[in-house]
Subunit: 365 residues, 2 copies
């Protein structure tokens, strides 16, 4: 009994009943002030912690959200998910929610996991990332009326209007538009874009941001604009190749915008003149190399995801909230400007800052 006090122990110590202790924890406002403080003192002195599983069994609510941990294909763009995961965990914690991980080898397998976790009352809802058009997972979750929010718009046109489908996304158009603007204001006229092949929901969105900003300014005739654009698969070496194609075919280039930091890093490798390159995702790589990059503001995304998931009931998750609150959030990314400060491209150059000696292991692990 000394090991793990229960509500009953606390009740005994405070001279009240179990339920009053429970009330102090869950709806303090209905307990008279003096009893409340007495109970709180007892809780404190006994070091009581509620037993999560017992509570869940009774309330049929786990206060846990499940998220699939994707196999990391590209560590560069993967780091966005990584920091999103971190932001999500941190903010979930503040709301008394927990984050449970799982993995899956295929969409079908993932659905099986959904079932297992949901039926077992392990989680109350899910956060999905990397959704694709006509995603079978969202269909299934909707059918089963299981709460979920996706990070990423459902690009399939029909899905977009489904009001049950909650989503949070980053406005890629806005990101590229403002990145283009920033270069224009710095004096650049011929701004190139290295993107992904169409159709790609996010890719096309970002491309349009660049395209629209270029048209608005009118520095380059619309017909000419195609020469300033190159599409390729994502990746560092692909970025290098794309940059080389641009240099061969596009004439003068004042700045280059890329659909990802991977591409941007690649582009930098074939960029001896140090034409300004802007990436997307603001990964640690961009910071290390000194690339400007569009930051997805994962904190805001995480906050939006949790808000939607918990609905207006703080800390609770409901599969079918009848609120009329907006069903989605479109987060504005922000441009982080850098000027290659960290990268002495010229081998003969002097280092920009002398190496600091850390007090502890740089990489303790």
């Amino acid at each position: 009994m000394a090991e793990f006090p229960t509500v009953t122990d606390v009740a005994l110590a405070a001279g009240v009943s179990r339920q009053t202790v429970s009330n102090v924890m869950n709806s303090p406002e209905i307990v008279r002030l003096d009893t409340r403080t007495r109970v709180e003192a007892a809780i404190e002195s006994l070091g009581y912690r509620p037993h999560a599983s017992a509570r869940r069994l009774r309330t049929r609510r786990s206060s846990t959200i499940g998220i699939r941990l994707d196999p990391m294909i590209d560590g560069i763009s993967g780091s966005v998910l990584d920091s999103f995961l971190h932001a999500l965990t941190e903010q979930a914690d503040a709301k008394g929610l927990r984050v449970l991980l799982f993995t899956a080898t295929s969409p079908e397998d993932e659905i099986a996991q959904f079932r297992r976790l949901n039926d077992g009352a392990d989680v109350d809802g899910f956060v999905l990332t990397s959704t694709s058009a006509g995603d079978p997972r969202t269909k299934w979750l909707l059918k089963k009326k299981i709460a979920f929010v996706t990070f990423g718009r459902p690009w399939g046109s029909d899905d977009l209007n489904q009001p049950e489908h909650l989503w949070v996304d980053v406005d890629g158009w806005h990101g590229l538009h403002s990145a283009t603007r920033a270069q224009q204001e710095a004096g650049a006229k011929r701004i190139a874009f290295i993107g992904w092949p169409s159709p790609s929901g996010t890719g096309d969105d970002r491309r349009r941001g660049w395209h629209d900003a270029m048209l608005e300014r009118g520095d380059v005739p619309e017909a000419e604009l195609a020469r300033l654009e190159v599409v390729t698969a994502d990746g560092v070496s692909e970025g290098t190749a794309a940059m080389q194609r641009l240099r061969a075919a596009a004439g003068r280039i004042d700045a280059v915008l890329c659909a990802s930091d991977s591409l941007a890093l690649g582009a930098m490798i074939a960029n001896p003149e140090r034409i300004p390159v802007t990436g997307y995702d603001n990964t640690p790589i961009a910071a290390a190399i000194g690339l400007s990059s569009v930051d997805q503001s994962v904190d805001e995304v995480a906050a939006g995801v949790l808000e939607l998931l918990t609905g207006e009931f703080e800390g609770r998750i409901d599969a079918a909230p009848e609120s009329t609150a907006p069903r989605h959030r479109l987060v504005k990314p922000r441009l982080v400007e850098r000027r290659f400060a960290a990268i002495p491209m010229d081998p003969a150059g002097t280092p920009t800052r002398s190496p600091a000696v850390p007090a502890v292991d740089p990489v303790p692990n």
Copy 2:
């Protein structure tokens, strides 16, 4: 009742009692074959899933391990933890364990989280990463007799002999030793090392691997060896600066080994002659750039962590197993050799492979 069948429903359907159903799930061997199949059929047809919380309440076991998600400082080396996390989740899943995330702002805060998660019966044990010498967290966990395993040796000499402290680590000495050997066999004699300032448990360990291999071969006199070594904080720009210092002071260099991929990437930037550079961690960056790198085999680490944590009782976690099994695992990393295949450093060169057009979004999110 149609919504969520319970053991009782299954029992009714199969014409047996609750407990028999429970036995079929937990110790099938004690149930007669024909009853077992009958119960299994009922489970299948009703779509029964055990209620995790109810089971946990009764068994006082959550089958969940907690792991702190570090704030990602450097996305490059952070990706090791990321893939470790993935491996851990995947293998935990196979053993019927779940992985619960949490965050903390300081060691003290983390200890508070330990307490909360453990007292609330949310988790059975913890996996710690980024441990430091004389870590207060491990002390506290040991005192409270809470199960945990660290990824990383306790470098403090006194801690090393504590048999209660279970750990899994990667043999950095072996990693650097074999990387050095590989370069020597390829004909290199003057092999430089870019490392971290001492004292650093992991850093010194890796350095020794290089140092010992160099001495064994004897291509470079011991006195001369210091000229081939540079220490610096971790980071890309630090790597670039370190490489420049090496080039200025070390004379001829046939190959460069680095204590991390971040340093290696930095070194590559100040490496127009394409001296072979080897990194550490085999991050996606290394793959993208075409750097050789020492792979930490996170899969083996994850397996070791889970084995130690679950002890010999498959799927169970015990704070004080009385087995005499080894208390730790030292995993041998393996060298992944690459030859800059992906990186056309010469801006005028042709791309090494033409960009493939992906069928789906390269980065769907």
